[in-house]
Amino acid sequence: MAVSVDPLVVGRVIGDVVDMFIPTVTMSVYYGSKHVTNGCDIKPSTAINPPKVSIDGHSDEFYTLVMTDPDAPSPSEPSMREWIHWIVSDIPGGTNPTQGKEILQYMGPRPPVGIHRYILVLFQQRGPLGPVQQPASRTNFNTRRFAEHLNLGLPVATVYFNAQKEPVSRRR
């Protein structure tokens, strides 16, 4: 039984990837025409290209967006938790990540086993960041450590979706 109704707590996003925070900025994520809500299902074939993310906020505020998968390679054994898919920094408020600096190129979801959660976390920057070093490898990423390293504080918005490997032949 869920003691909280917040979908981020129920889906254990808060806990596995980020800490409890108060959302201050609204972020809407669209893959094609599909609006991403917490816990919705997105097919990997629709997510090969980066989503359209619209962030509202002050245009002189800068934001950093991170997309990770805490269930790599499989939700029952997440030995590679987390797998980082996308990092964009210096996004001016009120725009989208194309206006920011892409630190790590977008990689679409490719879950090999099971149903994975893909989490998009938005942080507010204190000021414009300088050049950010790319993480050495995509595996064993830690969002909390990354935020601490760049002094980003708690996230301001988070959304997550589920994806699983599509069957080769279309069923039904």
Binding site: G39, E77, G114, I115
Partner: protein, 212 residues
């Protein structure tokens, strides 16, 4: 004797003395779980089939036995796959309605229901998170918890019991190997159910069930 049925013999209020009755009868065969009664007979004669199974052909069925001696006993339900899965049911009051019956039937006869739950727990232990209907997800919680409890015990007997339930043996061995690290401190509640949007084809309420 009769331990396979896991009866609790605190039937002090029964009209017959069970101990003397049982000692007088021929020794019972083990729980013949292969006897299947069609579902439409169960409601009308839920007491008689239970005892018929225990006396498998060695003594004639005496309806007096079933009427008087089962007031405070707990018998294995047709849904118990093995004797350590006994269900405490409604205390032998047979209602015309479903009052107090807590076993989920999942719209299937008992053998298919058993196979479905075995399959679902195997898949959950294999993939870590699966998406099914809400009724199936809440029905399978019990069996997943049982499997993890067997793995936490870790003895050979428990391993063989798990092998008899889960369809793939690699999963059993992997479970027994890693359960101490993952669930060593946790007491129960090894799964989580997250409700999600209904299925498009039939509007069935769906849920994710995952290992905590």
């Amino acid at each position: 004797m009769a331990m396979a049925l896991a009866m609790t013999t605190d039937c002090a209020s029964s009209r017959w003395s069970m101990a003397s009755l049982k000692s007088a009868l021929p020794p019972l065969a083990s729980t013949a779980s292969s006897i299947r009664y069609p579902c439409h007979r169960r409601r009308s004669s839920s007491k008689c089939p239970q005892l018929v199974r225990s006396f498998t052909g060695l003594s004639p069925v005496n309806p007096l036995h079933s009427l008087g001696s089962s007031v405070t006993q707990t018998l294995a339900d047709l849904n118990s796959f093995e004797h350590n899965f006994t269900i405490i049911d409604n205390g032998f009051k047979v209602y015309a309605m479903r009052h107090g019956r807590r076993v989920p039937k999942l719209n299937r006869p008992p053998d298919q229901r058993r196979a479905l739950l075995r399959c679902l727990t195997t898949q959950l232990l294999k993939y870590g998170r699966i998406k099914t209907t809400r009724a199936r997800a809440s029905a399978m919680r019990k069996y997943v918890d049982k499997m993890i409890t067997l793995a936490k015990d870790g003895s050979l007997h428990k391993r063989r019991q798990a092998l008899g339930f889960i369809y793939e043996k690699q999963i059993v061995h992997a479970l027994f190997a890693e359960v101490q690290d993952r669930y060593g401190e946790r007491n129960g509640g090894y799964t989580r159910i997250i409700r999600t949007l209904p299925r498009r084809g039939d509007n069935a309420p769906m849920a994710y069930i995952e290992l905590v």
